[in-house]
């Protein structure tokens, strides 16, 4: 796919915009499986779709290791070898009010979802946690869509602490959609343990991304994250 832009939007965090015109079907919560451009790295990198329209597909990724470091060198106009959209994506429930909880790189995959809820006049409250202010991104974008509460580990922006510190204070929601590190998801599972509609997007190291190799089972070994997920109702899976 053709690269439209690839810009640093926060500390070690890049927004990659791809030409989406050849994509036929796509859904919030799906992911793209990208070659990094390094010839000696053979595996693709799964990166969630942050948002899309008919023309463009936005991905947000953090530089972690060699693959994402190579991706940060992508230039506009170049081609990136991308497979996807892959995975099941989020189902939009027809409810009144939803809570969206994102942590770190888990914030991006929720943005398209939040947009779509808002578009359907479903109220969205977003709790977005970051390590610190310099790692935060997409905040204004979420603010356009509804109430946003920010937390940072070091207190450099919003409430000091993790998302748990603020969620305990919030009212009830018809559905909760979450993506982020394991402690965040675990906290939500404990907190909303009898809620019928807590949906989480999971991560695991992948090879094929299309369901063939079984690299990416959930912990309970019952589902493939790449194909049966990455989005699961938390009742279906072990974290």
């Amino acid at each position: 796919m053709k690269i439209i832009s690839n810009n640093c939007i926060a500390k070690d965090t890049y927004e990659l915009i791809l030409d989406a015109r050849e994509i036929k079907e796509i859904k919030a919560g799906q992911f793209m499986h990208l070659k990094s451009g390094r010839d000696d790295l053979i595996l693709r990198r799964p990166i969630s779709i942050a948002s899309y329209n008919e023309e463009e597909l936005n991905l947000v990724y953090k530089v972690i290791g060699e693959g994402t470091k190579a991706m940060s060198l992508f230039e506009p106009g170049e081609e990136v070898d991308a497979l996807g959209p892959l995975g099941n994506g989020f189902d939009l429930l027809d409810v009144e009010e939803v809570l969206i909880v994102g942590g770190g790189m888990g914030v991006a995959p929720l943005y398209q979802l939040a947009k779509e809820f808002t578009h359907k006049n479903i109220r969205v409250t977003s709790v977005l946690g970051f390590g610190s202010a310099d790692m935060a991104y997409y905040i204004e974008k979420f603010q356009v869509l509804g109430e946003v509460i920010i937390t940072t580990d070091d207190g450099s922006m919003g409430v000091k602490g993790n998302v748990g510190n603020v969620i305990d204070e919030l009212k009830e929601f018809d559905a909760i959609y979450a993506c982020g590190p394991w402690p965040l998801l675990y906290y939500l599972q404990m907190t909303f343990d009898d809620h019928p509609h807590l949906y989480v997007s999971l991560e695991e190291r992948m090879a094929c991304g299309i369901g063939a190799c079984y690299a990416c089972d959930t912990k309970d070994k019952k589902h493939r994250i790449c194909t049966d997920g990455p989005v699961f109702n938390i009742k279906e899976v072990e974290l």
């Binding site: 053979i42 090879a207 094929c208 063939a212 190799c213 089972d217």
Partner: protein, 305 residues
């Protein structure tokens, strides 16, 4: 004349390109990318007597020009595979090579006895070389006596042609190859993965939950080529070569080493179209190198060795 056709014991292949076991599932996912009838054959994912849920996570790690896997022979077990998985593949005009694994001789034998029940299974690939399970697997592939005995016993219970898949984690792969030939194997498939490890710098622990995993991909190709070259000169049964094949040049190199057909593993995992691409690219490469056909190439290699 079909330029790409290959005859192997019990197998008449349209072309020599075969997705390798464990890298193609039971074909379902890849059938969304292209018509599986174009393939020479399919080496289906390993089958064991009972379901195996697989190893703990993570199961894959990346290495320079390669990858480690420790999937752990995850499969739904013989019954489900006979009733659902192979039958799904029956809609395609492609022979299945059933990759059979087990923890005990009895398990191998039991599975091999029944595997012909799926009529599209045209051959057995005896996996005596899986490095990722604690019992069985590779134990059968490192001792020539054990390998020979198992081959013999399996041969006795099935009429299907029997290919034995060899492990590269041995001092002398030629010894094992000779042993399975003596045991009655109709062919050899090689190589399975090399045992490797990656350690996470931040945790200080192996990345894979299983600690070690099987190394595959282009990194291992020179080892595969060397072993195929050695084995081809030591046995009379044909070899299906694999290990790091990604390009049509790699396919030819496998032939020059002594292979009679070529399986493609890891490359499917990052390029789901790879087998189709290789099949399409082969005729032009044969022309370029002056071979009329795959069979001509095989003959030339035999003549020169």
């Amino acid at each position: 004349m079909n330029q790409l056709k290959v005859s192997l014991p019990g197998l008449e292949l349209k072309n020599p390109i075969i997705p390798a076991s464990g890298c193609f599932g039971f074909g379902e996912e890849f059938s969304k990318f292209y018509d599986l009838s174009i393939l020479g054959a399919i080496m289906a994912k390993a089958v064991t007597l009972e379901e195996r849920v697989g190893n703990d996570l993570p199961r894959v790690a990346e290495t320079t020009s390669g990858m480690l896997n420790a999937i752990g022979l995850k499969n739904p077990g013989l019954e489900v595979i006979l009733n659902e998985k192979y039958p799904f593949l029956a809609q395609f005009d492609v022979p299945i090579i059933a990759n059979v694994a087990g923890a005990t001789e009895e398990e191998y034998i039991e599975v091999c006895k029944r595997i012909h029940e799926a009529p599209n299974v045209k051959a057995i690939e005896l996996n005596i070389s899986c490095p990722n399970v604690s019992e069985g697997g590779v134990a059968f592939g490192t001792d020539p006596t054990v390998a020979k005995r198992l081959t013999k016993k399996v041969k006795a219970v099935t009429d299907l042609p029997l290919y034995v898949k060899l492990s590269p984690n041995v001092s002398s792969i030629v010894e094992i190859a000779k042993a399975v030939e003596e045991g009655g194997a109709d062919g050899i498939t090689m190589i399975n993965t090399l045992t490797g490890m990656r350690i996470d710098l931040h945790t200080g622990k192996p990345i894979l939950a299983n600690k070690t995993g099987g190394l595959s991909g282009p990194a291992i190709k020179p080892i595969a080529i060397r072993m195929i070259y050695e084995v081809a000169r030591a046995v009379d049964i044909p070899i299906i070569g694999m290990g790091g094949v990604e390009t049509v040049d790699d396919v030819i190199e496998m032939y020059l080493a002594g292979a009679s057909a070529v399986a493609v593993g890891t490359a499917n995992l990052h390029n789901p179209m790879i087998c189709k691409e290789l099949i399409e690219a082969l005729p032009a490469k044969l022309d370029e190198l002056g071979y009329q056909s795959i069979e001509h190439l095989i003959d030339e290699v035999k003549k020169n060795s």
